[in-house]
C-alpha cells in the first residue's frame, strides 16, 4: 500500500511541472502583462522600459519560467509580482475560508444526501422516489450563482436574516453553504441512489434477511457498505473540485477565498500568484484523489488484496 502511495505522489512532480508550464505559457500569451495593470497615465516610455527590465519582461518566457522553477525546487513559491506578498502567505490566509466553506457544504450535503439517496433507492418507483429525483435534478440544474443571488435577495434584503457578505459570525456561512451545498448534496444523493439500486438486487441481502437480520441493519451494514465505493468517489471528486474554491459563490458573497484570489491574479496578469495557486490546488487535488483510493482499500477488501498482493499493474474500477 505504501509503495503504491509513494508512486502516486511521485507522479505529482511531473504533473505539477506540466501544470505550471501550461499556466505560465498561457498567462504569458494572454494580452497585457503584469506591468499593464500598474501603468497609470503619468508614466512615460522610459518608466515602462524600466518596469519591463524590473520584471524580466524583456527576456523570453522560458527564462522567467526557468527562474520560477528554480525557486520552486527550493520550495519557495515566490511572491506575487504586483504586491510582493509571498504567494504562500496569501494562499494561507485565503485557503481556510475556502476550506471551511467546502467542508461545511460537503458535510451538510452528505448528511442530507446519503439518507435521502438510501430512502429514494429503498422506495424506488414510488411517489417519494420521484420527489427525491425531481429535488436532486433541480439541485443539479440550478446555477449556484443564481441561487446565491436569490438567497441574497430573500434572506438578506427582504427579511434581514443573514449578513450579505463575510463578517466572521456563523450567520454569514449559511447562505454560501446552501448555495454551494445544494448542488453538491443533489449529486451525492443521485450517486447514493444509483449505488444502492445496484446493490439492492444482490443475493447476499437475501442471505442476510434469511439470517433474520432486521431491515435497518440490512441497509446500513450490508447494502451501504457495498455502495460506499461510488459514493466515496463522488464525495472525493466534489471535495477536490471545491478545493479550487467555487469562484462563482465567492464572487456573489465577496468571500475572501482561493477562487477569488485566482480571478484577481488572472485579471491582474499576476503569473506567479496564479501559478502558485494552481500548483497548491493541484497538489491538494492529487493528494485528495490518492486519499480516496486509499479509502477504497479500507472499504473493499478485494481492492486491498491488489495492493498487498503487490501486483505491478493496479486495476481499480475507475469511476
Amino acid at each position: 500500500m505504501l509503495r503504491y502511495a509513494v508512486i502516486r505522489l511521485l507522479w505529482l512532480i511531473p504533473i505539477l511541472i506540466c501544470v505550471s508550464l501550461i499556466i505560465f505559457v498561457l498567462m504569458d500569451a494572454a494580452p497585457g502583462s503584469i506591468i499593464d495593470s500598474m501603468i497609470n497615465e503619468e508614466m512615460t516610455q522610459e518608466d515602462i522600459e524600466e518596469l519591463k527590465r524590473e520584471y524580466d519582461l524583456d527576456k523570453s518566457v522560458f527564462y522567467r519560467y526557468g527562474k520560477y522553477m528554480l525557486g520552486l525546487f527550493r520550495g519557495n513559491l515566490g511572491s506575487s509580482e504586483i504586491s510582493g506578498l509571498s504567494v504562500f502567505d496569501m494562499y494561507k490566509t485565503r485557503f481556510p475560508k475556502t476550506l471551511e466553506l467546502s467542508l461545511l457544504s460537503l458535510v451538510l450535503g452528505t448528511l442530507i444526501a446519503i439518507p435521502m439517496g438510501i430512502f429514494a433507492a429503498k422506495h424506488a418507483g414510488t411517489i417519494w422516489d420521484n420527489l427525491t429525483t425531481a429535488f436532486t435534478l433541480i439541485g443539479l440544474s440550478m446555477p449556484s450563482f443564481w441561487l446565491g443571488l436569490l438567497l441574497l435577495i430573500w434572506f438578506s434584503h427582504s427579511i434581514k436574516l443573514f449578513p450579505a457578505g463575510y463578517d466572521g459570525t456563523w450567520k454569514c456561512y449559511v447562505m454560501p453553504v446552501i448555495a454551494g451545498g445544494f448542488s453538491m448534496s443533489a449529486s451525492i444523493t443521485r450517486q447514493t441512489r444509483s449505488a444502492i439500486l445496484d446493490v439492492v438486487r444482490q443475493d447476499y441481502l437475501r442471505t442476510a434477511r434469511a439470517k433474520g437480520v432486521p431491515e435497518w441493519r440490512v441497509t446500513v451494514k450490508h447494502e451501504l457498505r457495498n455502495a460506499w465505493i461510488p459514493i466515496v468517489t463522488q464525495i472525493g471528486m466534489m471535495l477536490a473540485m471545491t478545493m479550487a474554491g467555487s469562484a462563482v459563490i465567492e464572487a456573489v458573497y465577496s468571500w475572501p477565498g482561493v477562487g477569488r484570489l485566482m480571478i484577481e491574479a488572472i485579471n491582474q496578469r499576476d503569473t506567479t500568484l496564479a501559478c502558485g495557486c494552481v500548483i497548491l490546488t493541484a497538489t491538494l487535488y492529487v493528494v485528495l484523489l490518492l486519499l480516496v483510493d486509499i479509502v477504497y482499500a479500507f472499504i473493499d477488501p478485494r481492492i486491498r488484496a491488489q495492493y498487498s498482493a503487490g501486483r505491478r499493474k493496479k486495476r481499480r474500477a475507475e469511476a
Binding site: 507522479w11 494580452p31 440544474s141 446555477p143 443564481w146 439500486l197 469562484a247 480571478i263 486495476r315
Partner: protein
C-alpha cells in the same frame, strides 16, 4: 420412432428458424424497444419537450430576431417590470429581456452541444486508446488526463478565455477542454470492462487488426454509458458557460448569453429582480431537461437499471 418424437424434432427445427427470424426482428426492435421505454418515462418526455421547445425558440430567434432588435438601446423604457409589451420586462439599457433571452438560447445550446461533442470526440479517442492498448500508452494518457483534471475547470476556462480573448468560440474551446478529461476516464473504464469479454478474443481470432477491434468492436459496446455521460455533461457545460460569463470570462459583452444576462442584472437585484430571474429560470429549465433526458436514456438503454 413414436409419433411424439417426430413432432418434437420437427417442431424443434421450425422453432429454430422461427427464432432466427425473430432474432432478426429482435435486432430492429432493440432500438424500438428503447424508444418505447423512453416514451413511457414521463420525466424523459418532459425533458425532450423542453429541449425541443428550446430548439424551436432558437430557430424562431434565427428567423425573426435580428441582431438590431437585441442590441437596440432605448433610454426611455429602462427597468420596466414584466408587462404585456415586454413579457420579461426590460434591462438596464431599455432592451427587451424576452428577445434577448430567446436570442441567448443559441449560445447556451451551442455551448452545451459543441463543447460536449468536442470533449467527447477527443476524450473518447484517447480514452479508447488508453483503455484498449494499456501499457505505457495508457500511463501517459491517464497522467495527461490527471493534469487536465487537476487544473480546476473554471480556472482553465478563465485562462483560455483570457488568452484567446473573449469570443464565443473561445468559450466553447474552454469548456470543451475541461470536458475532455471526464470523457477520457469514462471511456477508458468502459473499455476496460468490455475488453476482457470473449467476443474480443473471437474478433482477434479471425485476424481483425487491433485498431479496428478497438474502434469497431469494443467502442460500440460502451455506447450507452457514453450517451448518458454526454447528456449529463451537456447540463454541466451549460452551467459552466453561464458561470464563466457571470464572472466576466464568457462571451463578449454585448452578446446576450444567459450567464451574462444574470451578471448584468445582478447589480440591480434590489431594484429589478426580474433581470436575473428569467435567464436563471431558462438555464435551470434547459439543464433540468438535459438531466431528465439523460436519466431517461440511461434507463431506456440499460434495462438492468430499470425498476
Amino acid at each position: 420412432m413414436s409419433r411424439g418424437q417426430t413432432e418434437t424434432i420437427v417442431s424443434r427445427k421450425e422453432g429454430h428458424s422461427a427464432t432466427l427470424a425473430s432474432r432478426k426482428y429482435k435486432k430492429k426492435s432493440a432500438f424500438l424497444e428503447s424508444w418505447n421505454r423512453l416514451r413511457t418515462n414521463p420525466g424523459a418526455m418532459f425533458g425532450l419537450i423542453v429541449i425541443i421547445l428550446m430548439v424551436l425558440l432558437m430557430v424562431y430567434s434565427f428567423m425573426f430576431i435580428t441582431e438590431e432588435d437585441v442590441m437596440a438601446i432605448n433610454s426611455a423604457n429602462r427597468f420596466k417590470p414584466p408587462s404585456a409589451a415586454h413579457p420579461f420586462g426590460t434591462d438596464s439599457m431599455g432592451r427587451d429581456l424576452f428577445m434577448r433571452t430567446v436570442y441567448g438560447t443559441r449560445y447556451s445550446l451551442a455551448v452545451g452541444f459543441f463543447s460536449v461533442a468536442f470533449g467527447l470526440v477527443v476524450g473518447v479517442f484517447f480514452g479508447t486508446l488508453a483503455g484498449y492498448f494499456g501499457g505505457w500508452v495508457e500511463e501517459i494518457i491517464m497522467r495527461v488526463s490527471d493534469v487536465m483534471a487537476s487544473i480546476p475547470g473554471m480556472l482553465l476556462g478563465m485562462v483560455i478565455v483570457a488568452v484567446l480573448g473573449p469570443s464565443f468560440l473561445n468559450l466553447l474551446i474552454a469548456i470543451g477542454v475541461s470536458n475532455i478529461s471526464g470523457f477520457i476516464r469514462m471511456s477508458r473504464a468502459s473499455i476496460l470492462s468490455v475488453k476482457g469479454s470473449e467476443f474480443v478474443e473471437a474478433a482477434r481470432a479471425i485476424g481483425m487488426s487491433e485498431f479496428r477491434i478497438a474502434f469497431s468492436q469494443v467502442l460500440p459496446n460502451s455506447v450507452s454509458p457514453l450517451i448518458v455521460t454526454a447528456t449529463a455533461r451537456i447540463a454541466t457545460s451549460v452551467l459552466a458557460a453561464a458561470g464563466l460569463s457571470f464572472i466576466g470570462f464568457g462571451v463578449p459583452v454585448p452578446l446576450p448569453e444567459w450567464g451574462a444576462l444574470i451578471s448584468d442584472g445582478r447589480n440591480y437585484l434590489g431594484r429589478a429582480p426580474h433581470l436575473t430571474l428569467f435567464p436563471g429560470i431558462f438555464i435551470m429549465l434547459t439543464t433540468f431537461a438535459c438531466s431528465l433526458l439523460g436519466d431517461g436514456l440511461r434507463d431506456a438503454l440499460d434495462p438492468k437499471l430499470k425498476q
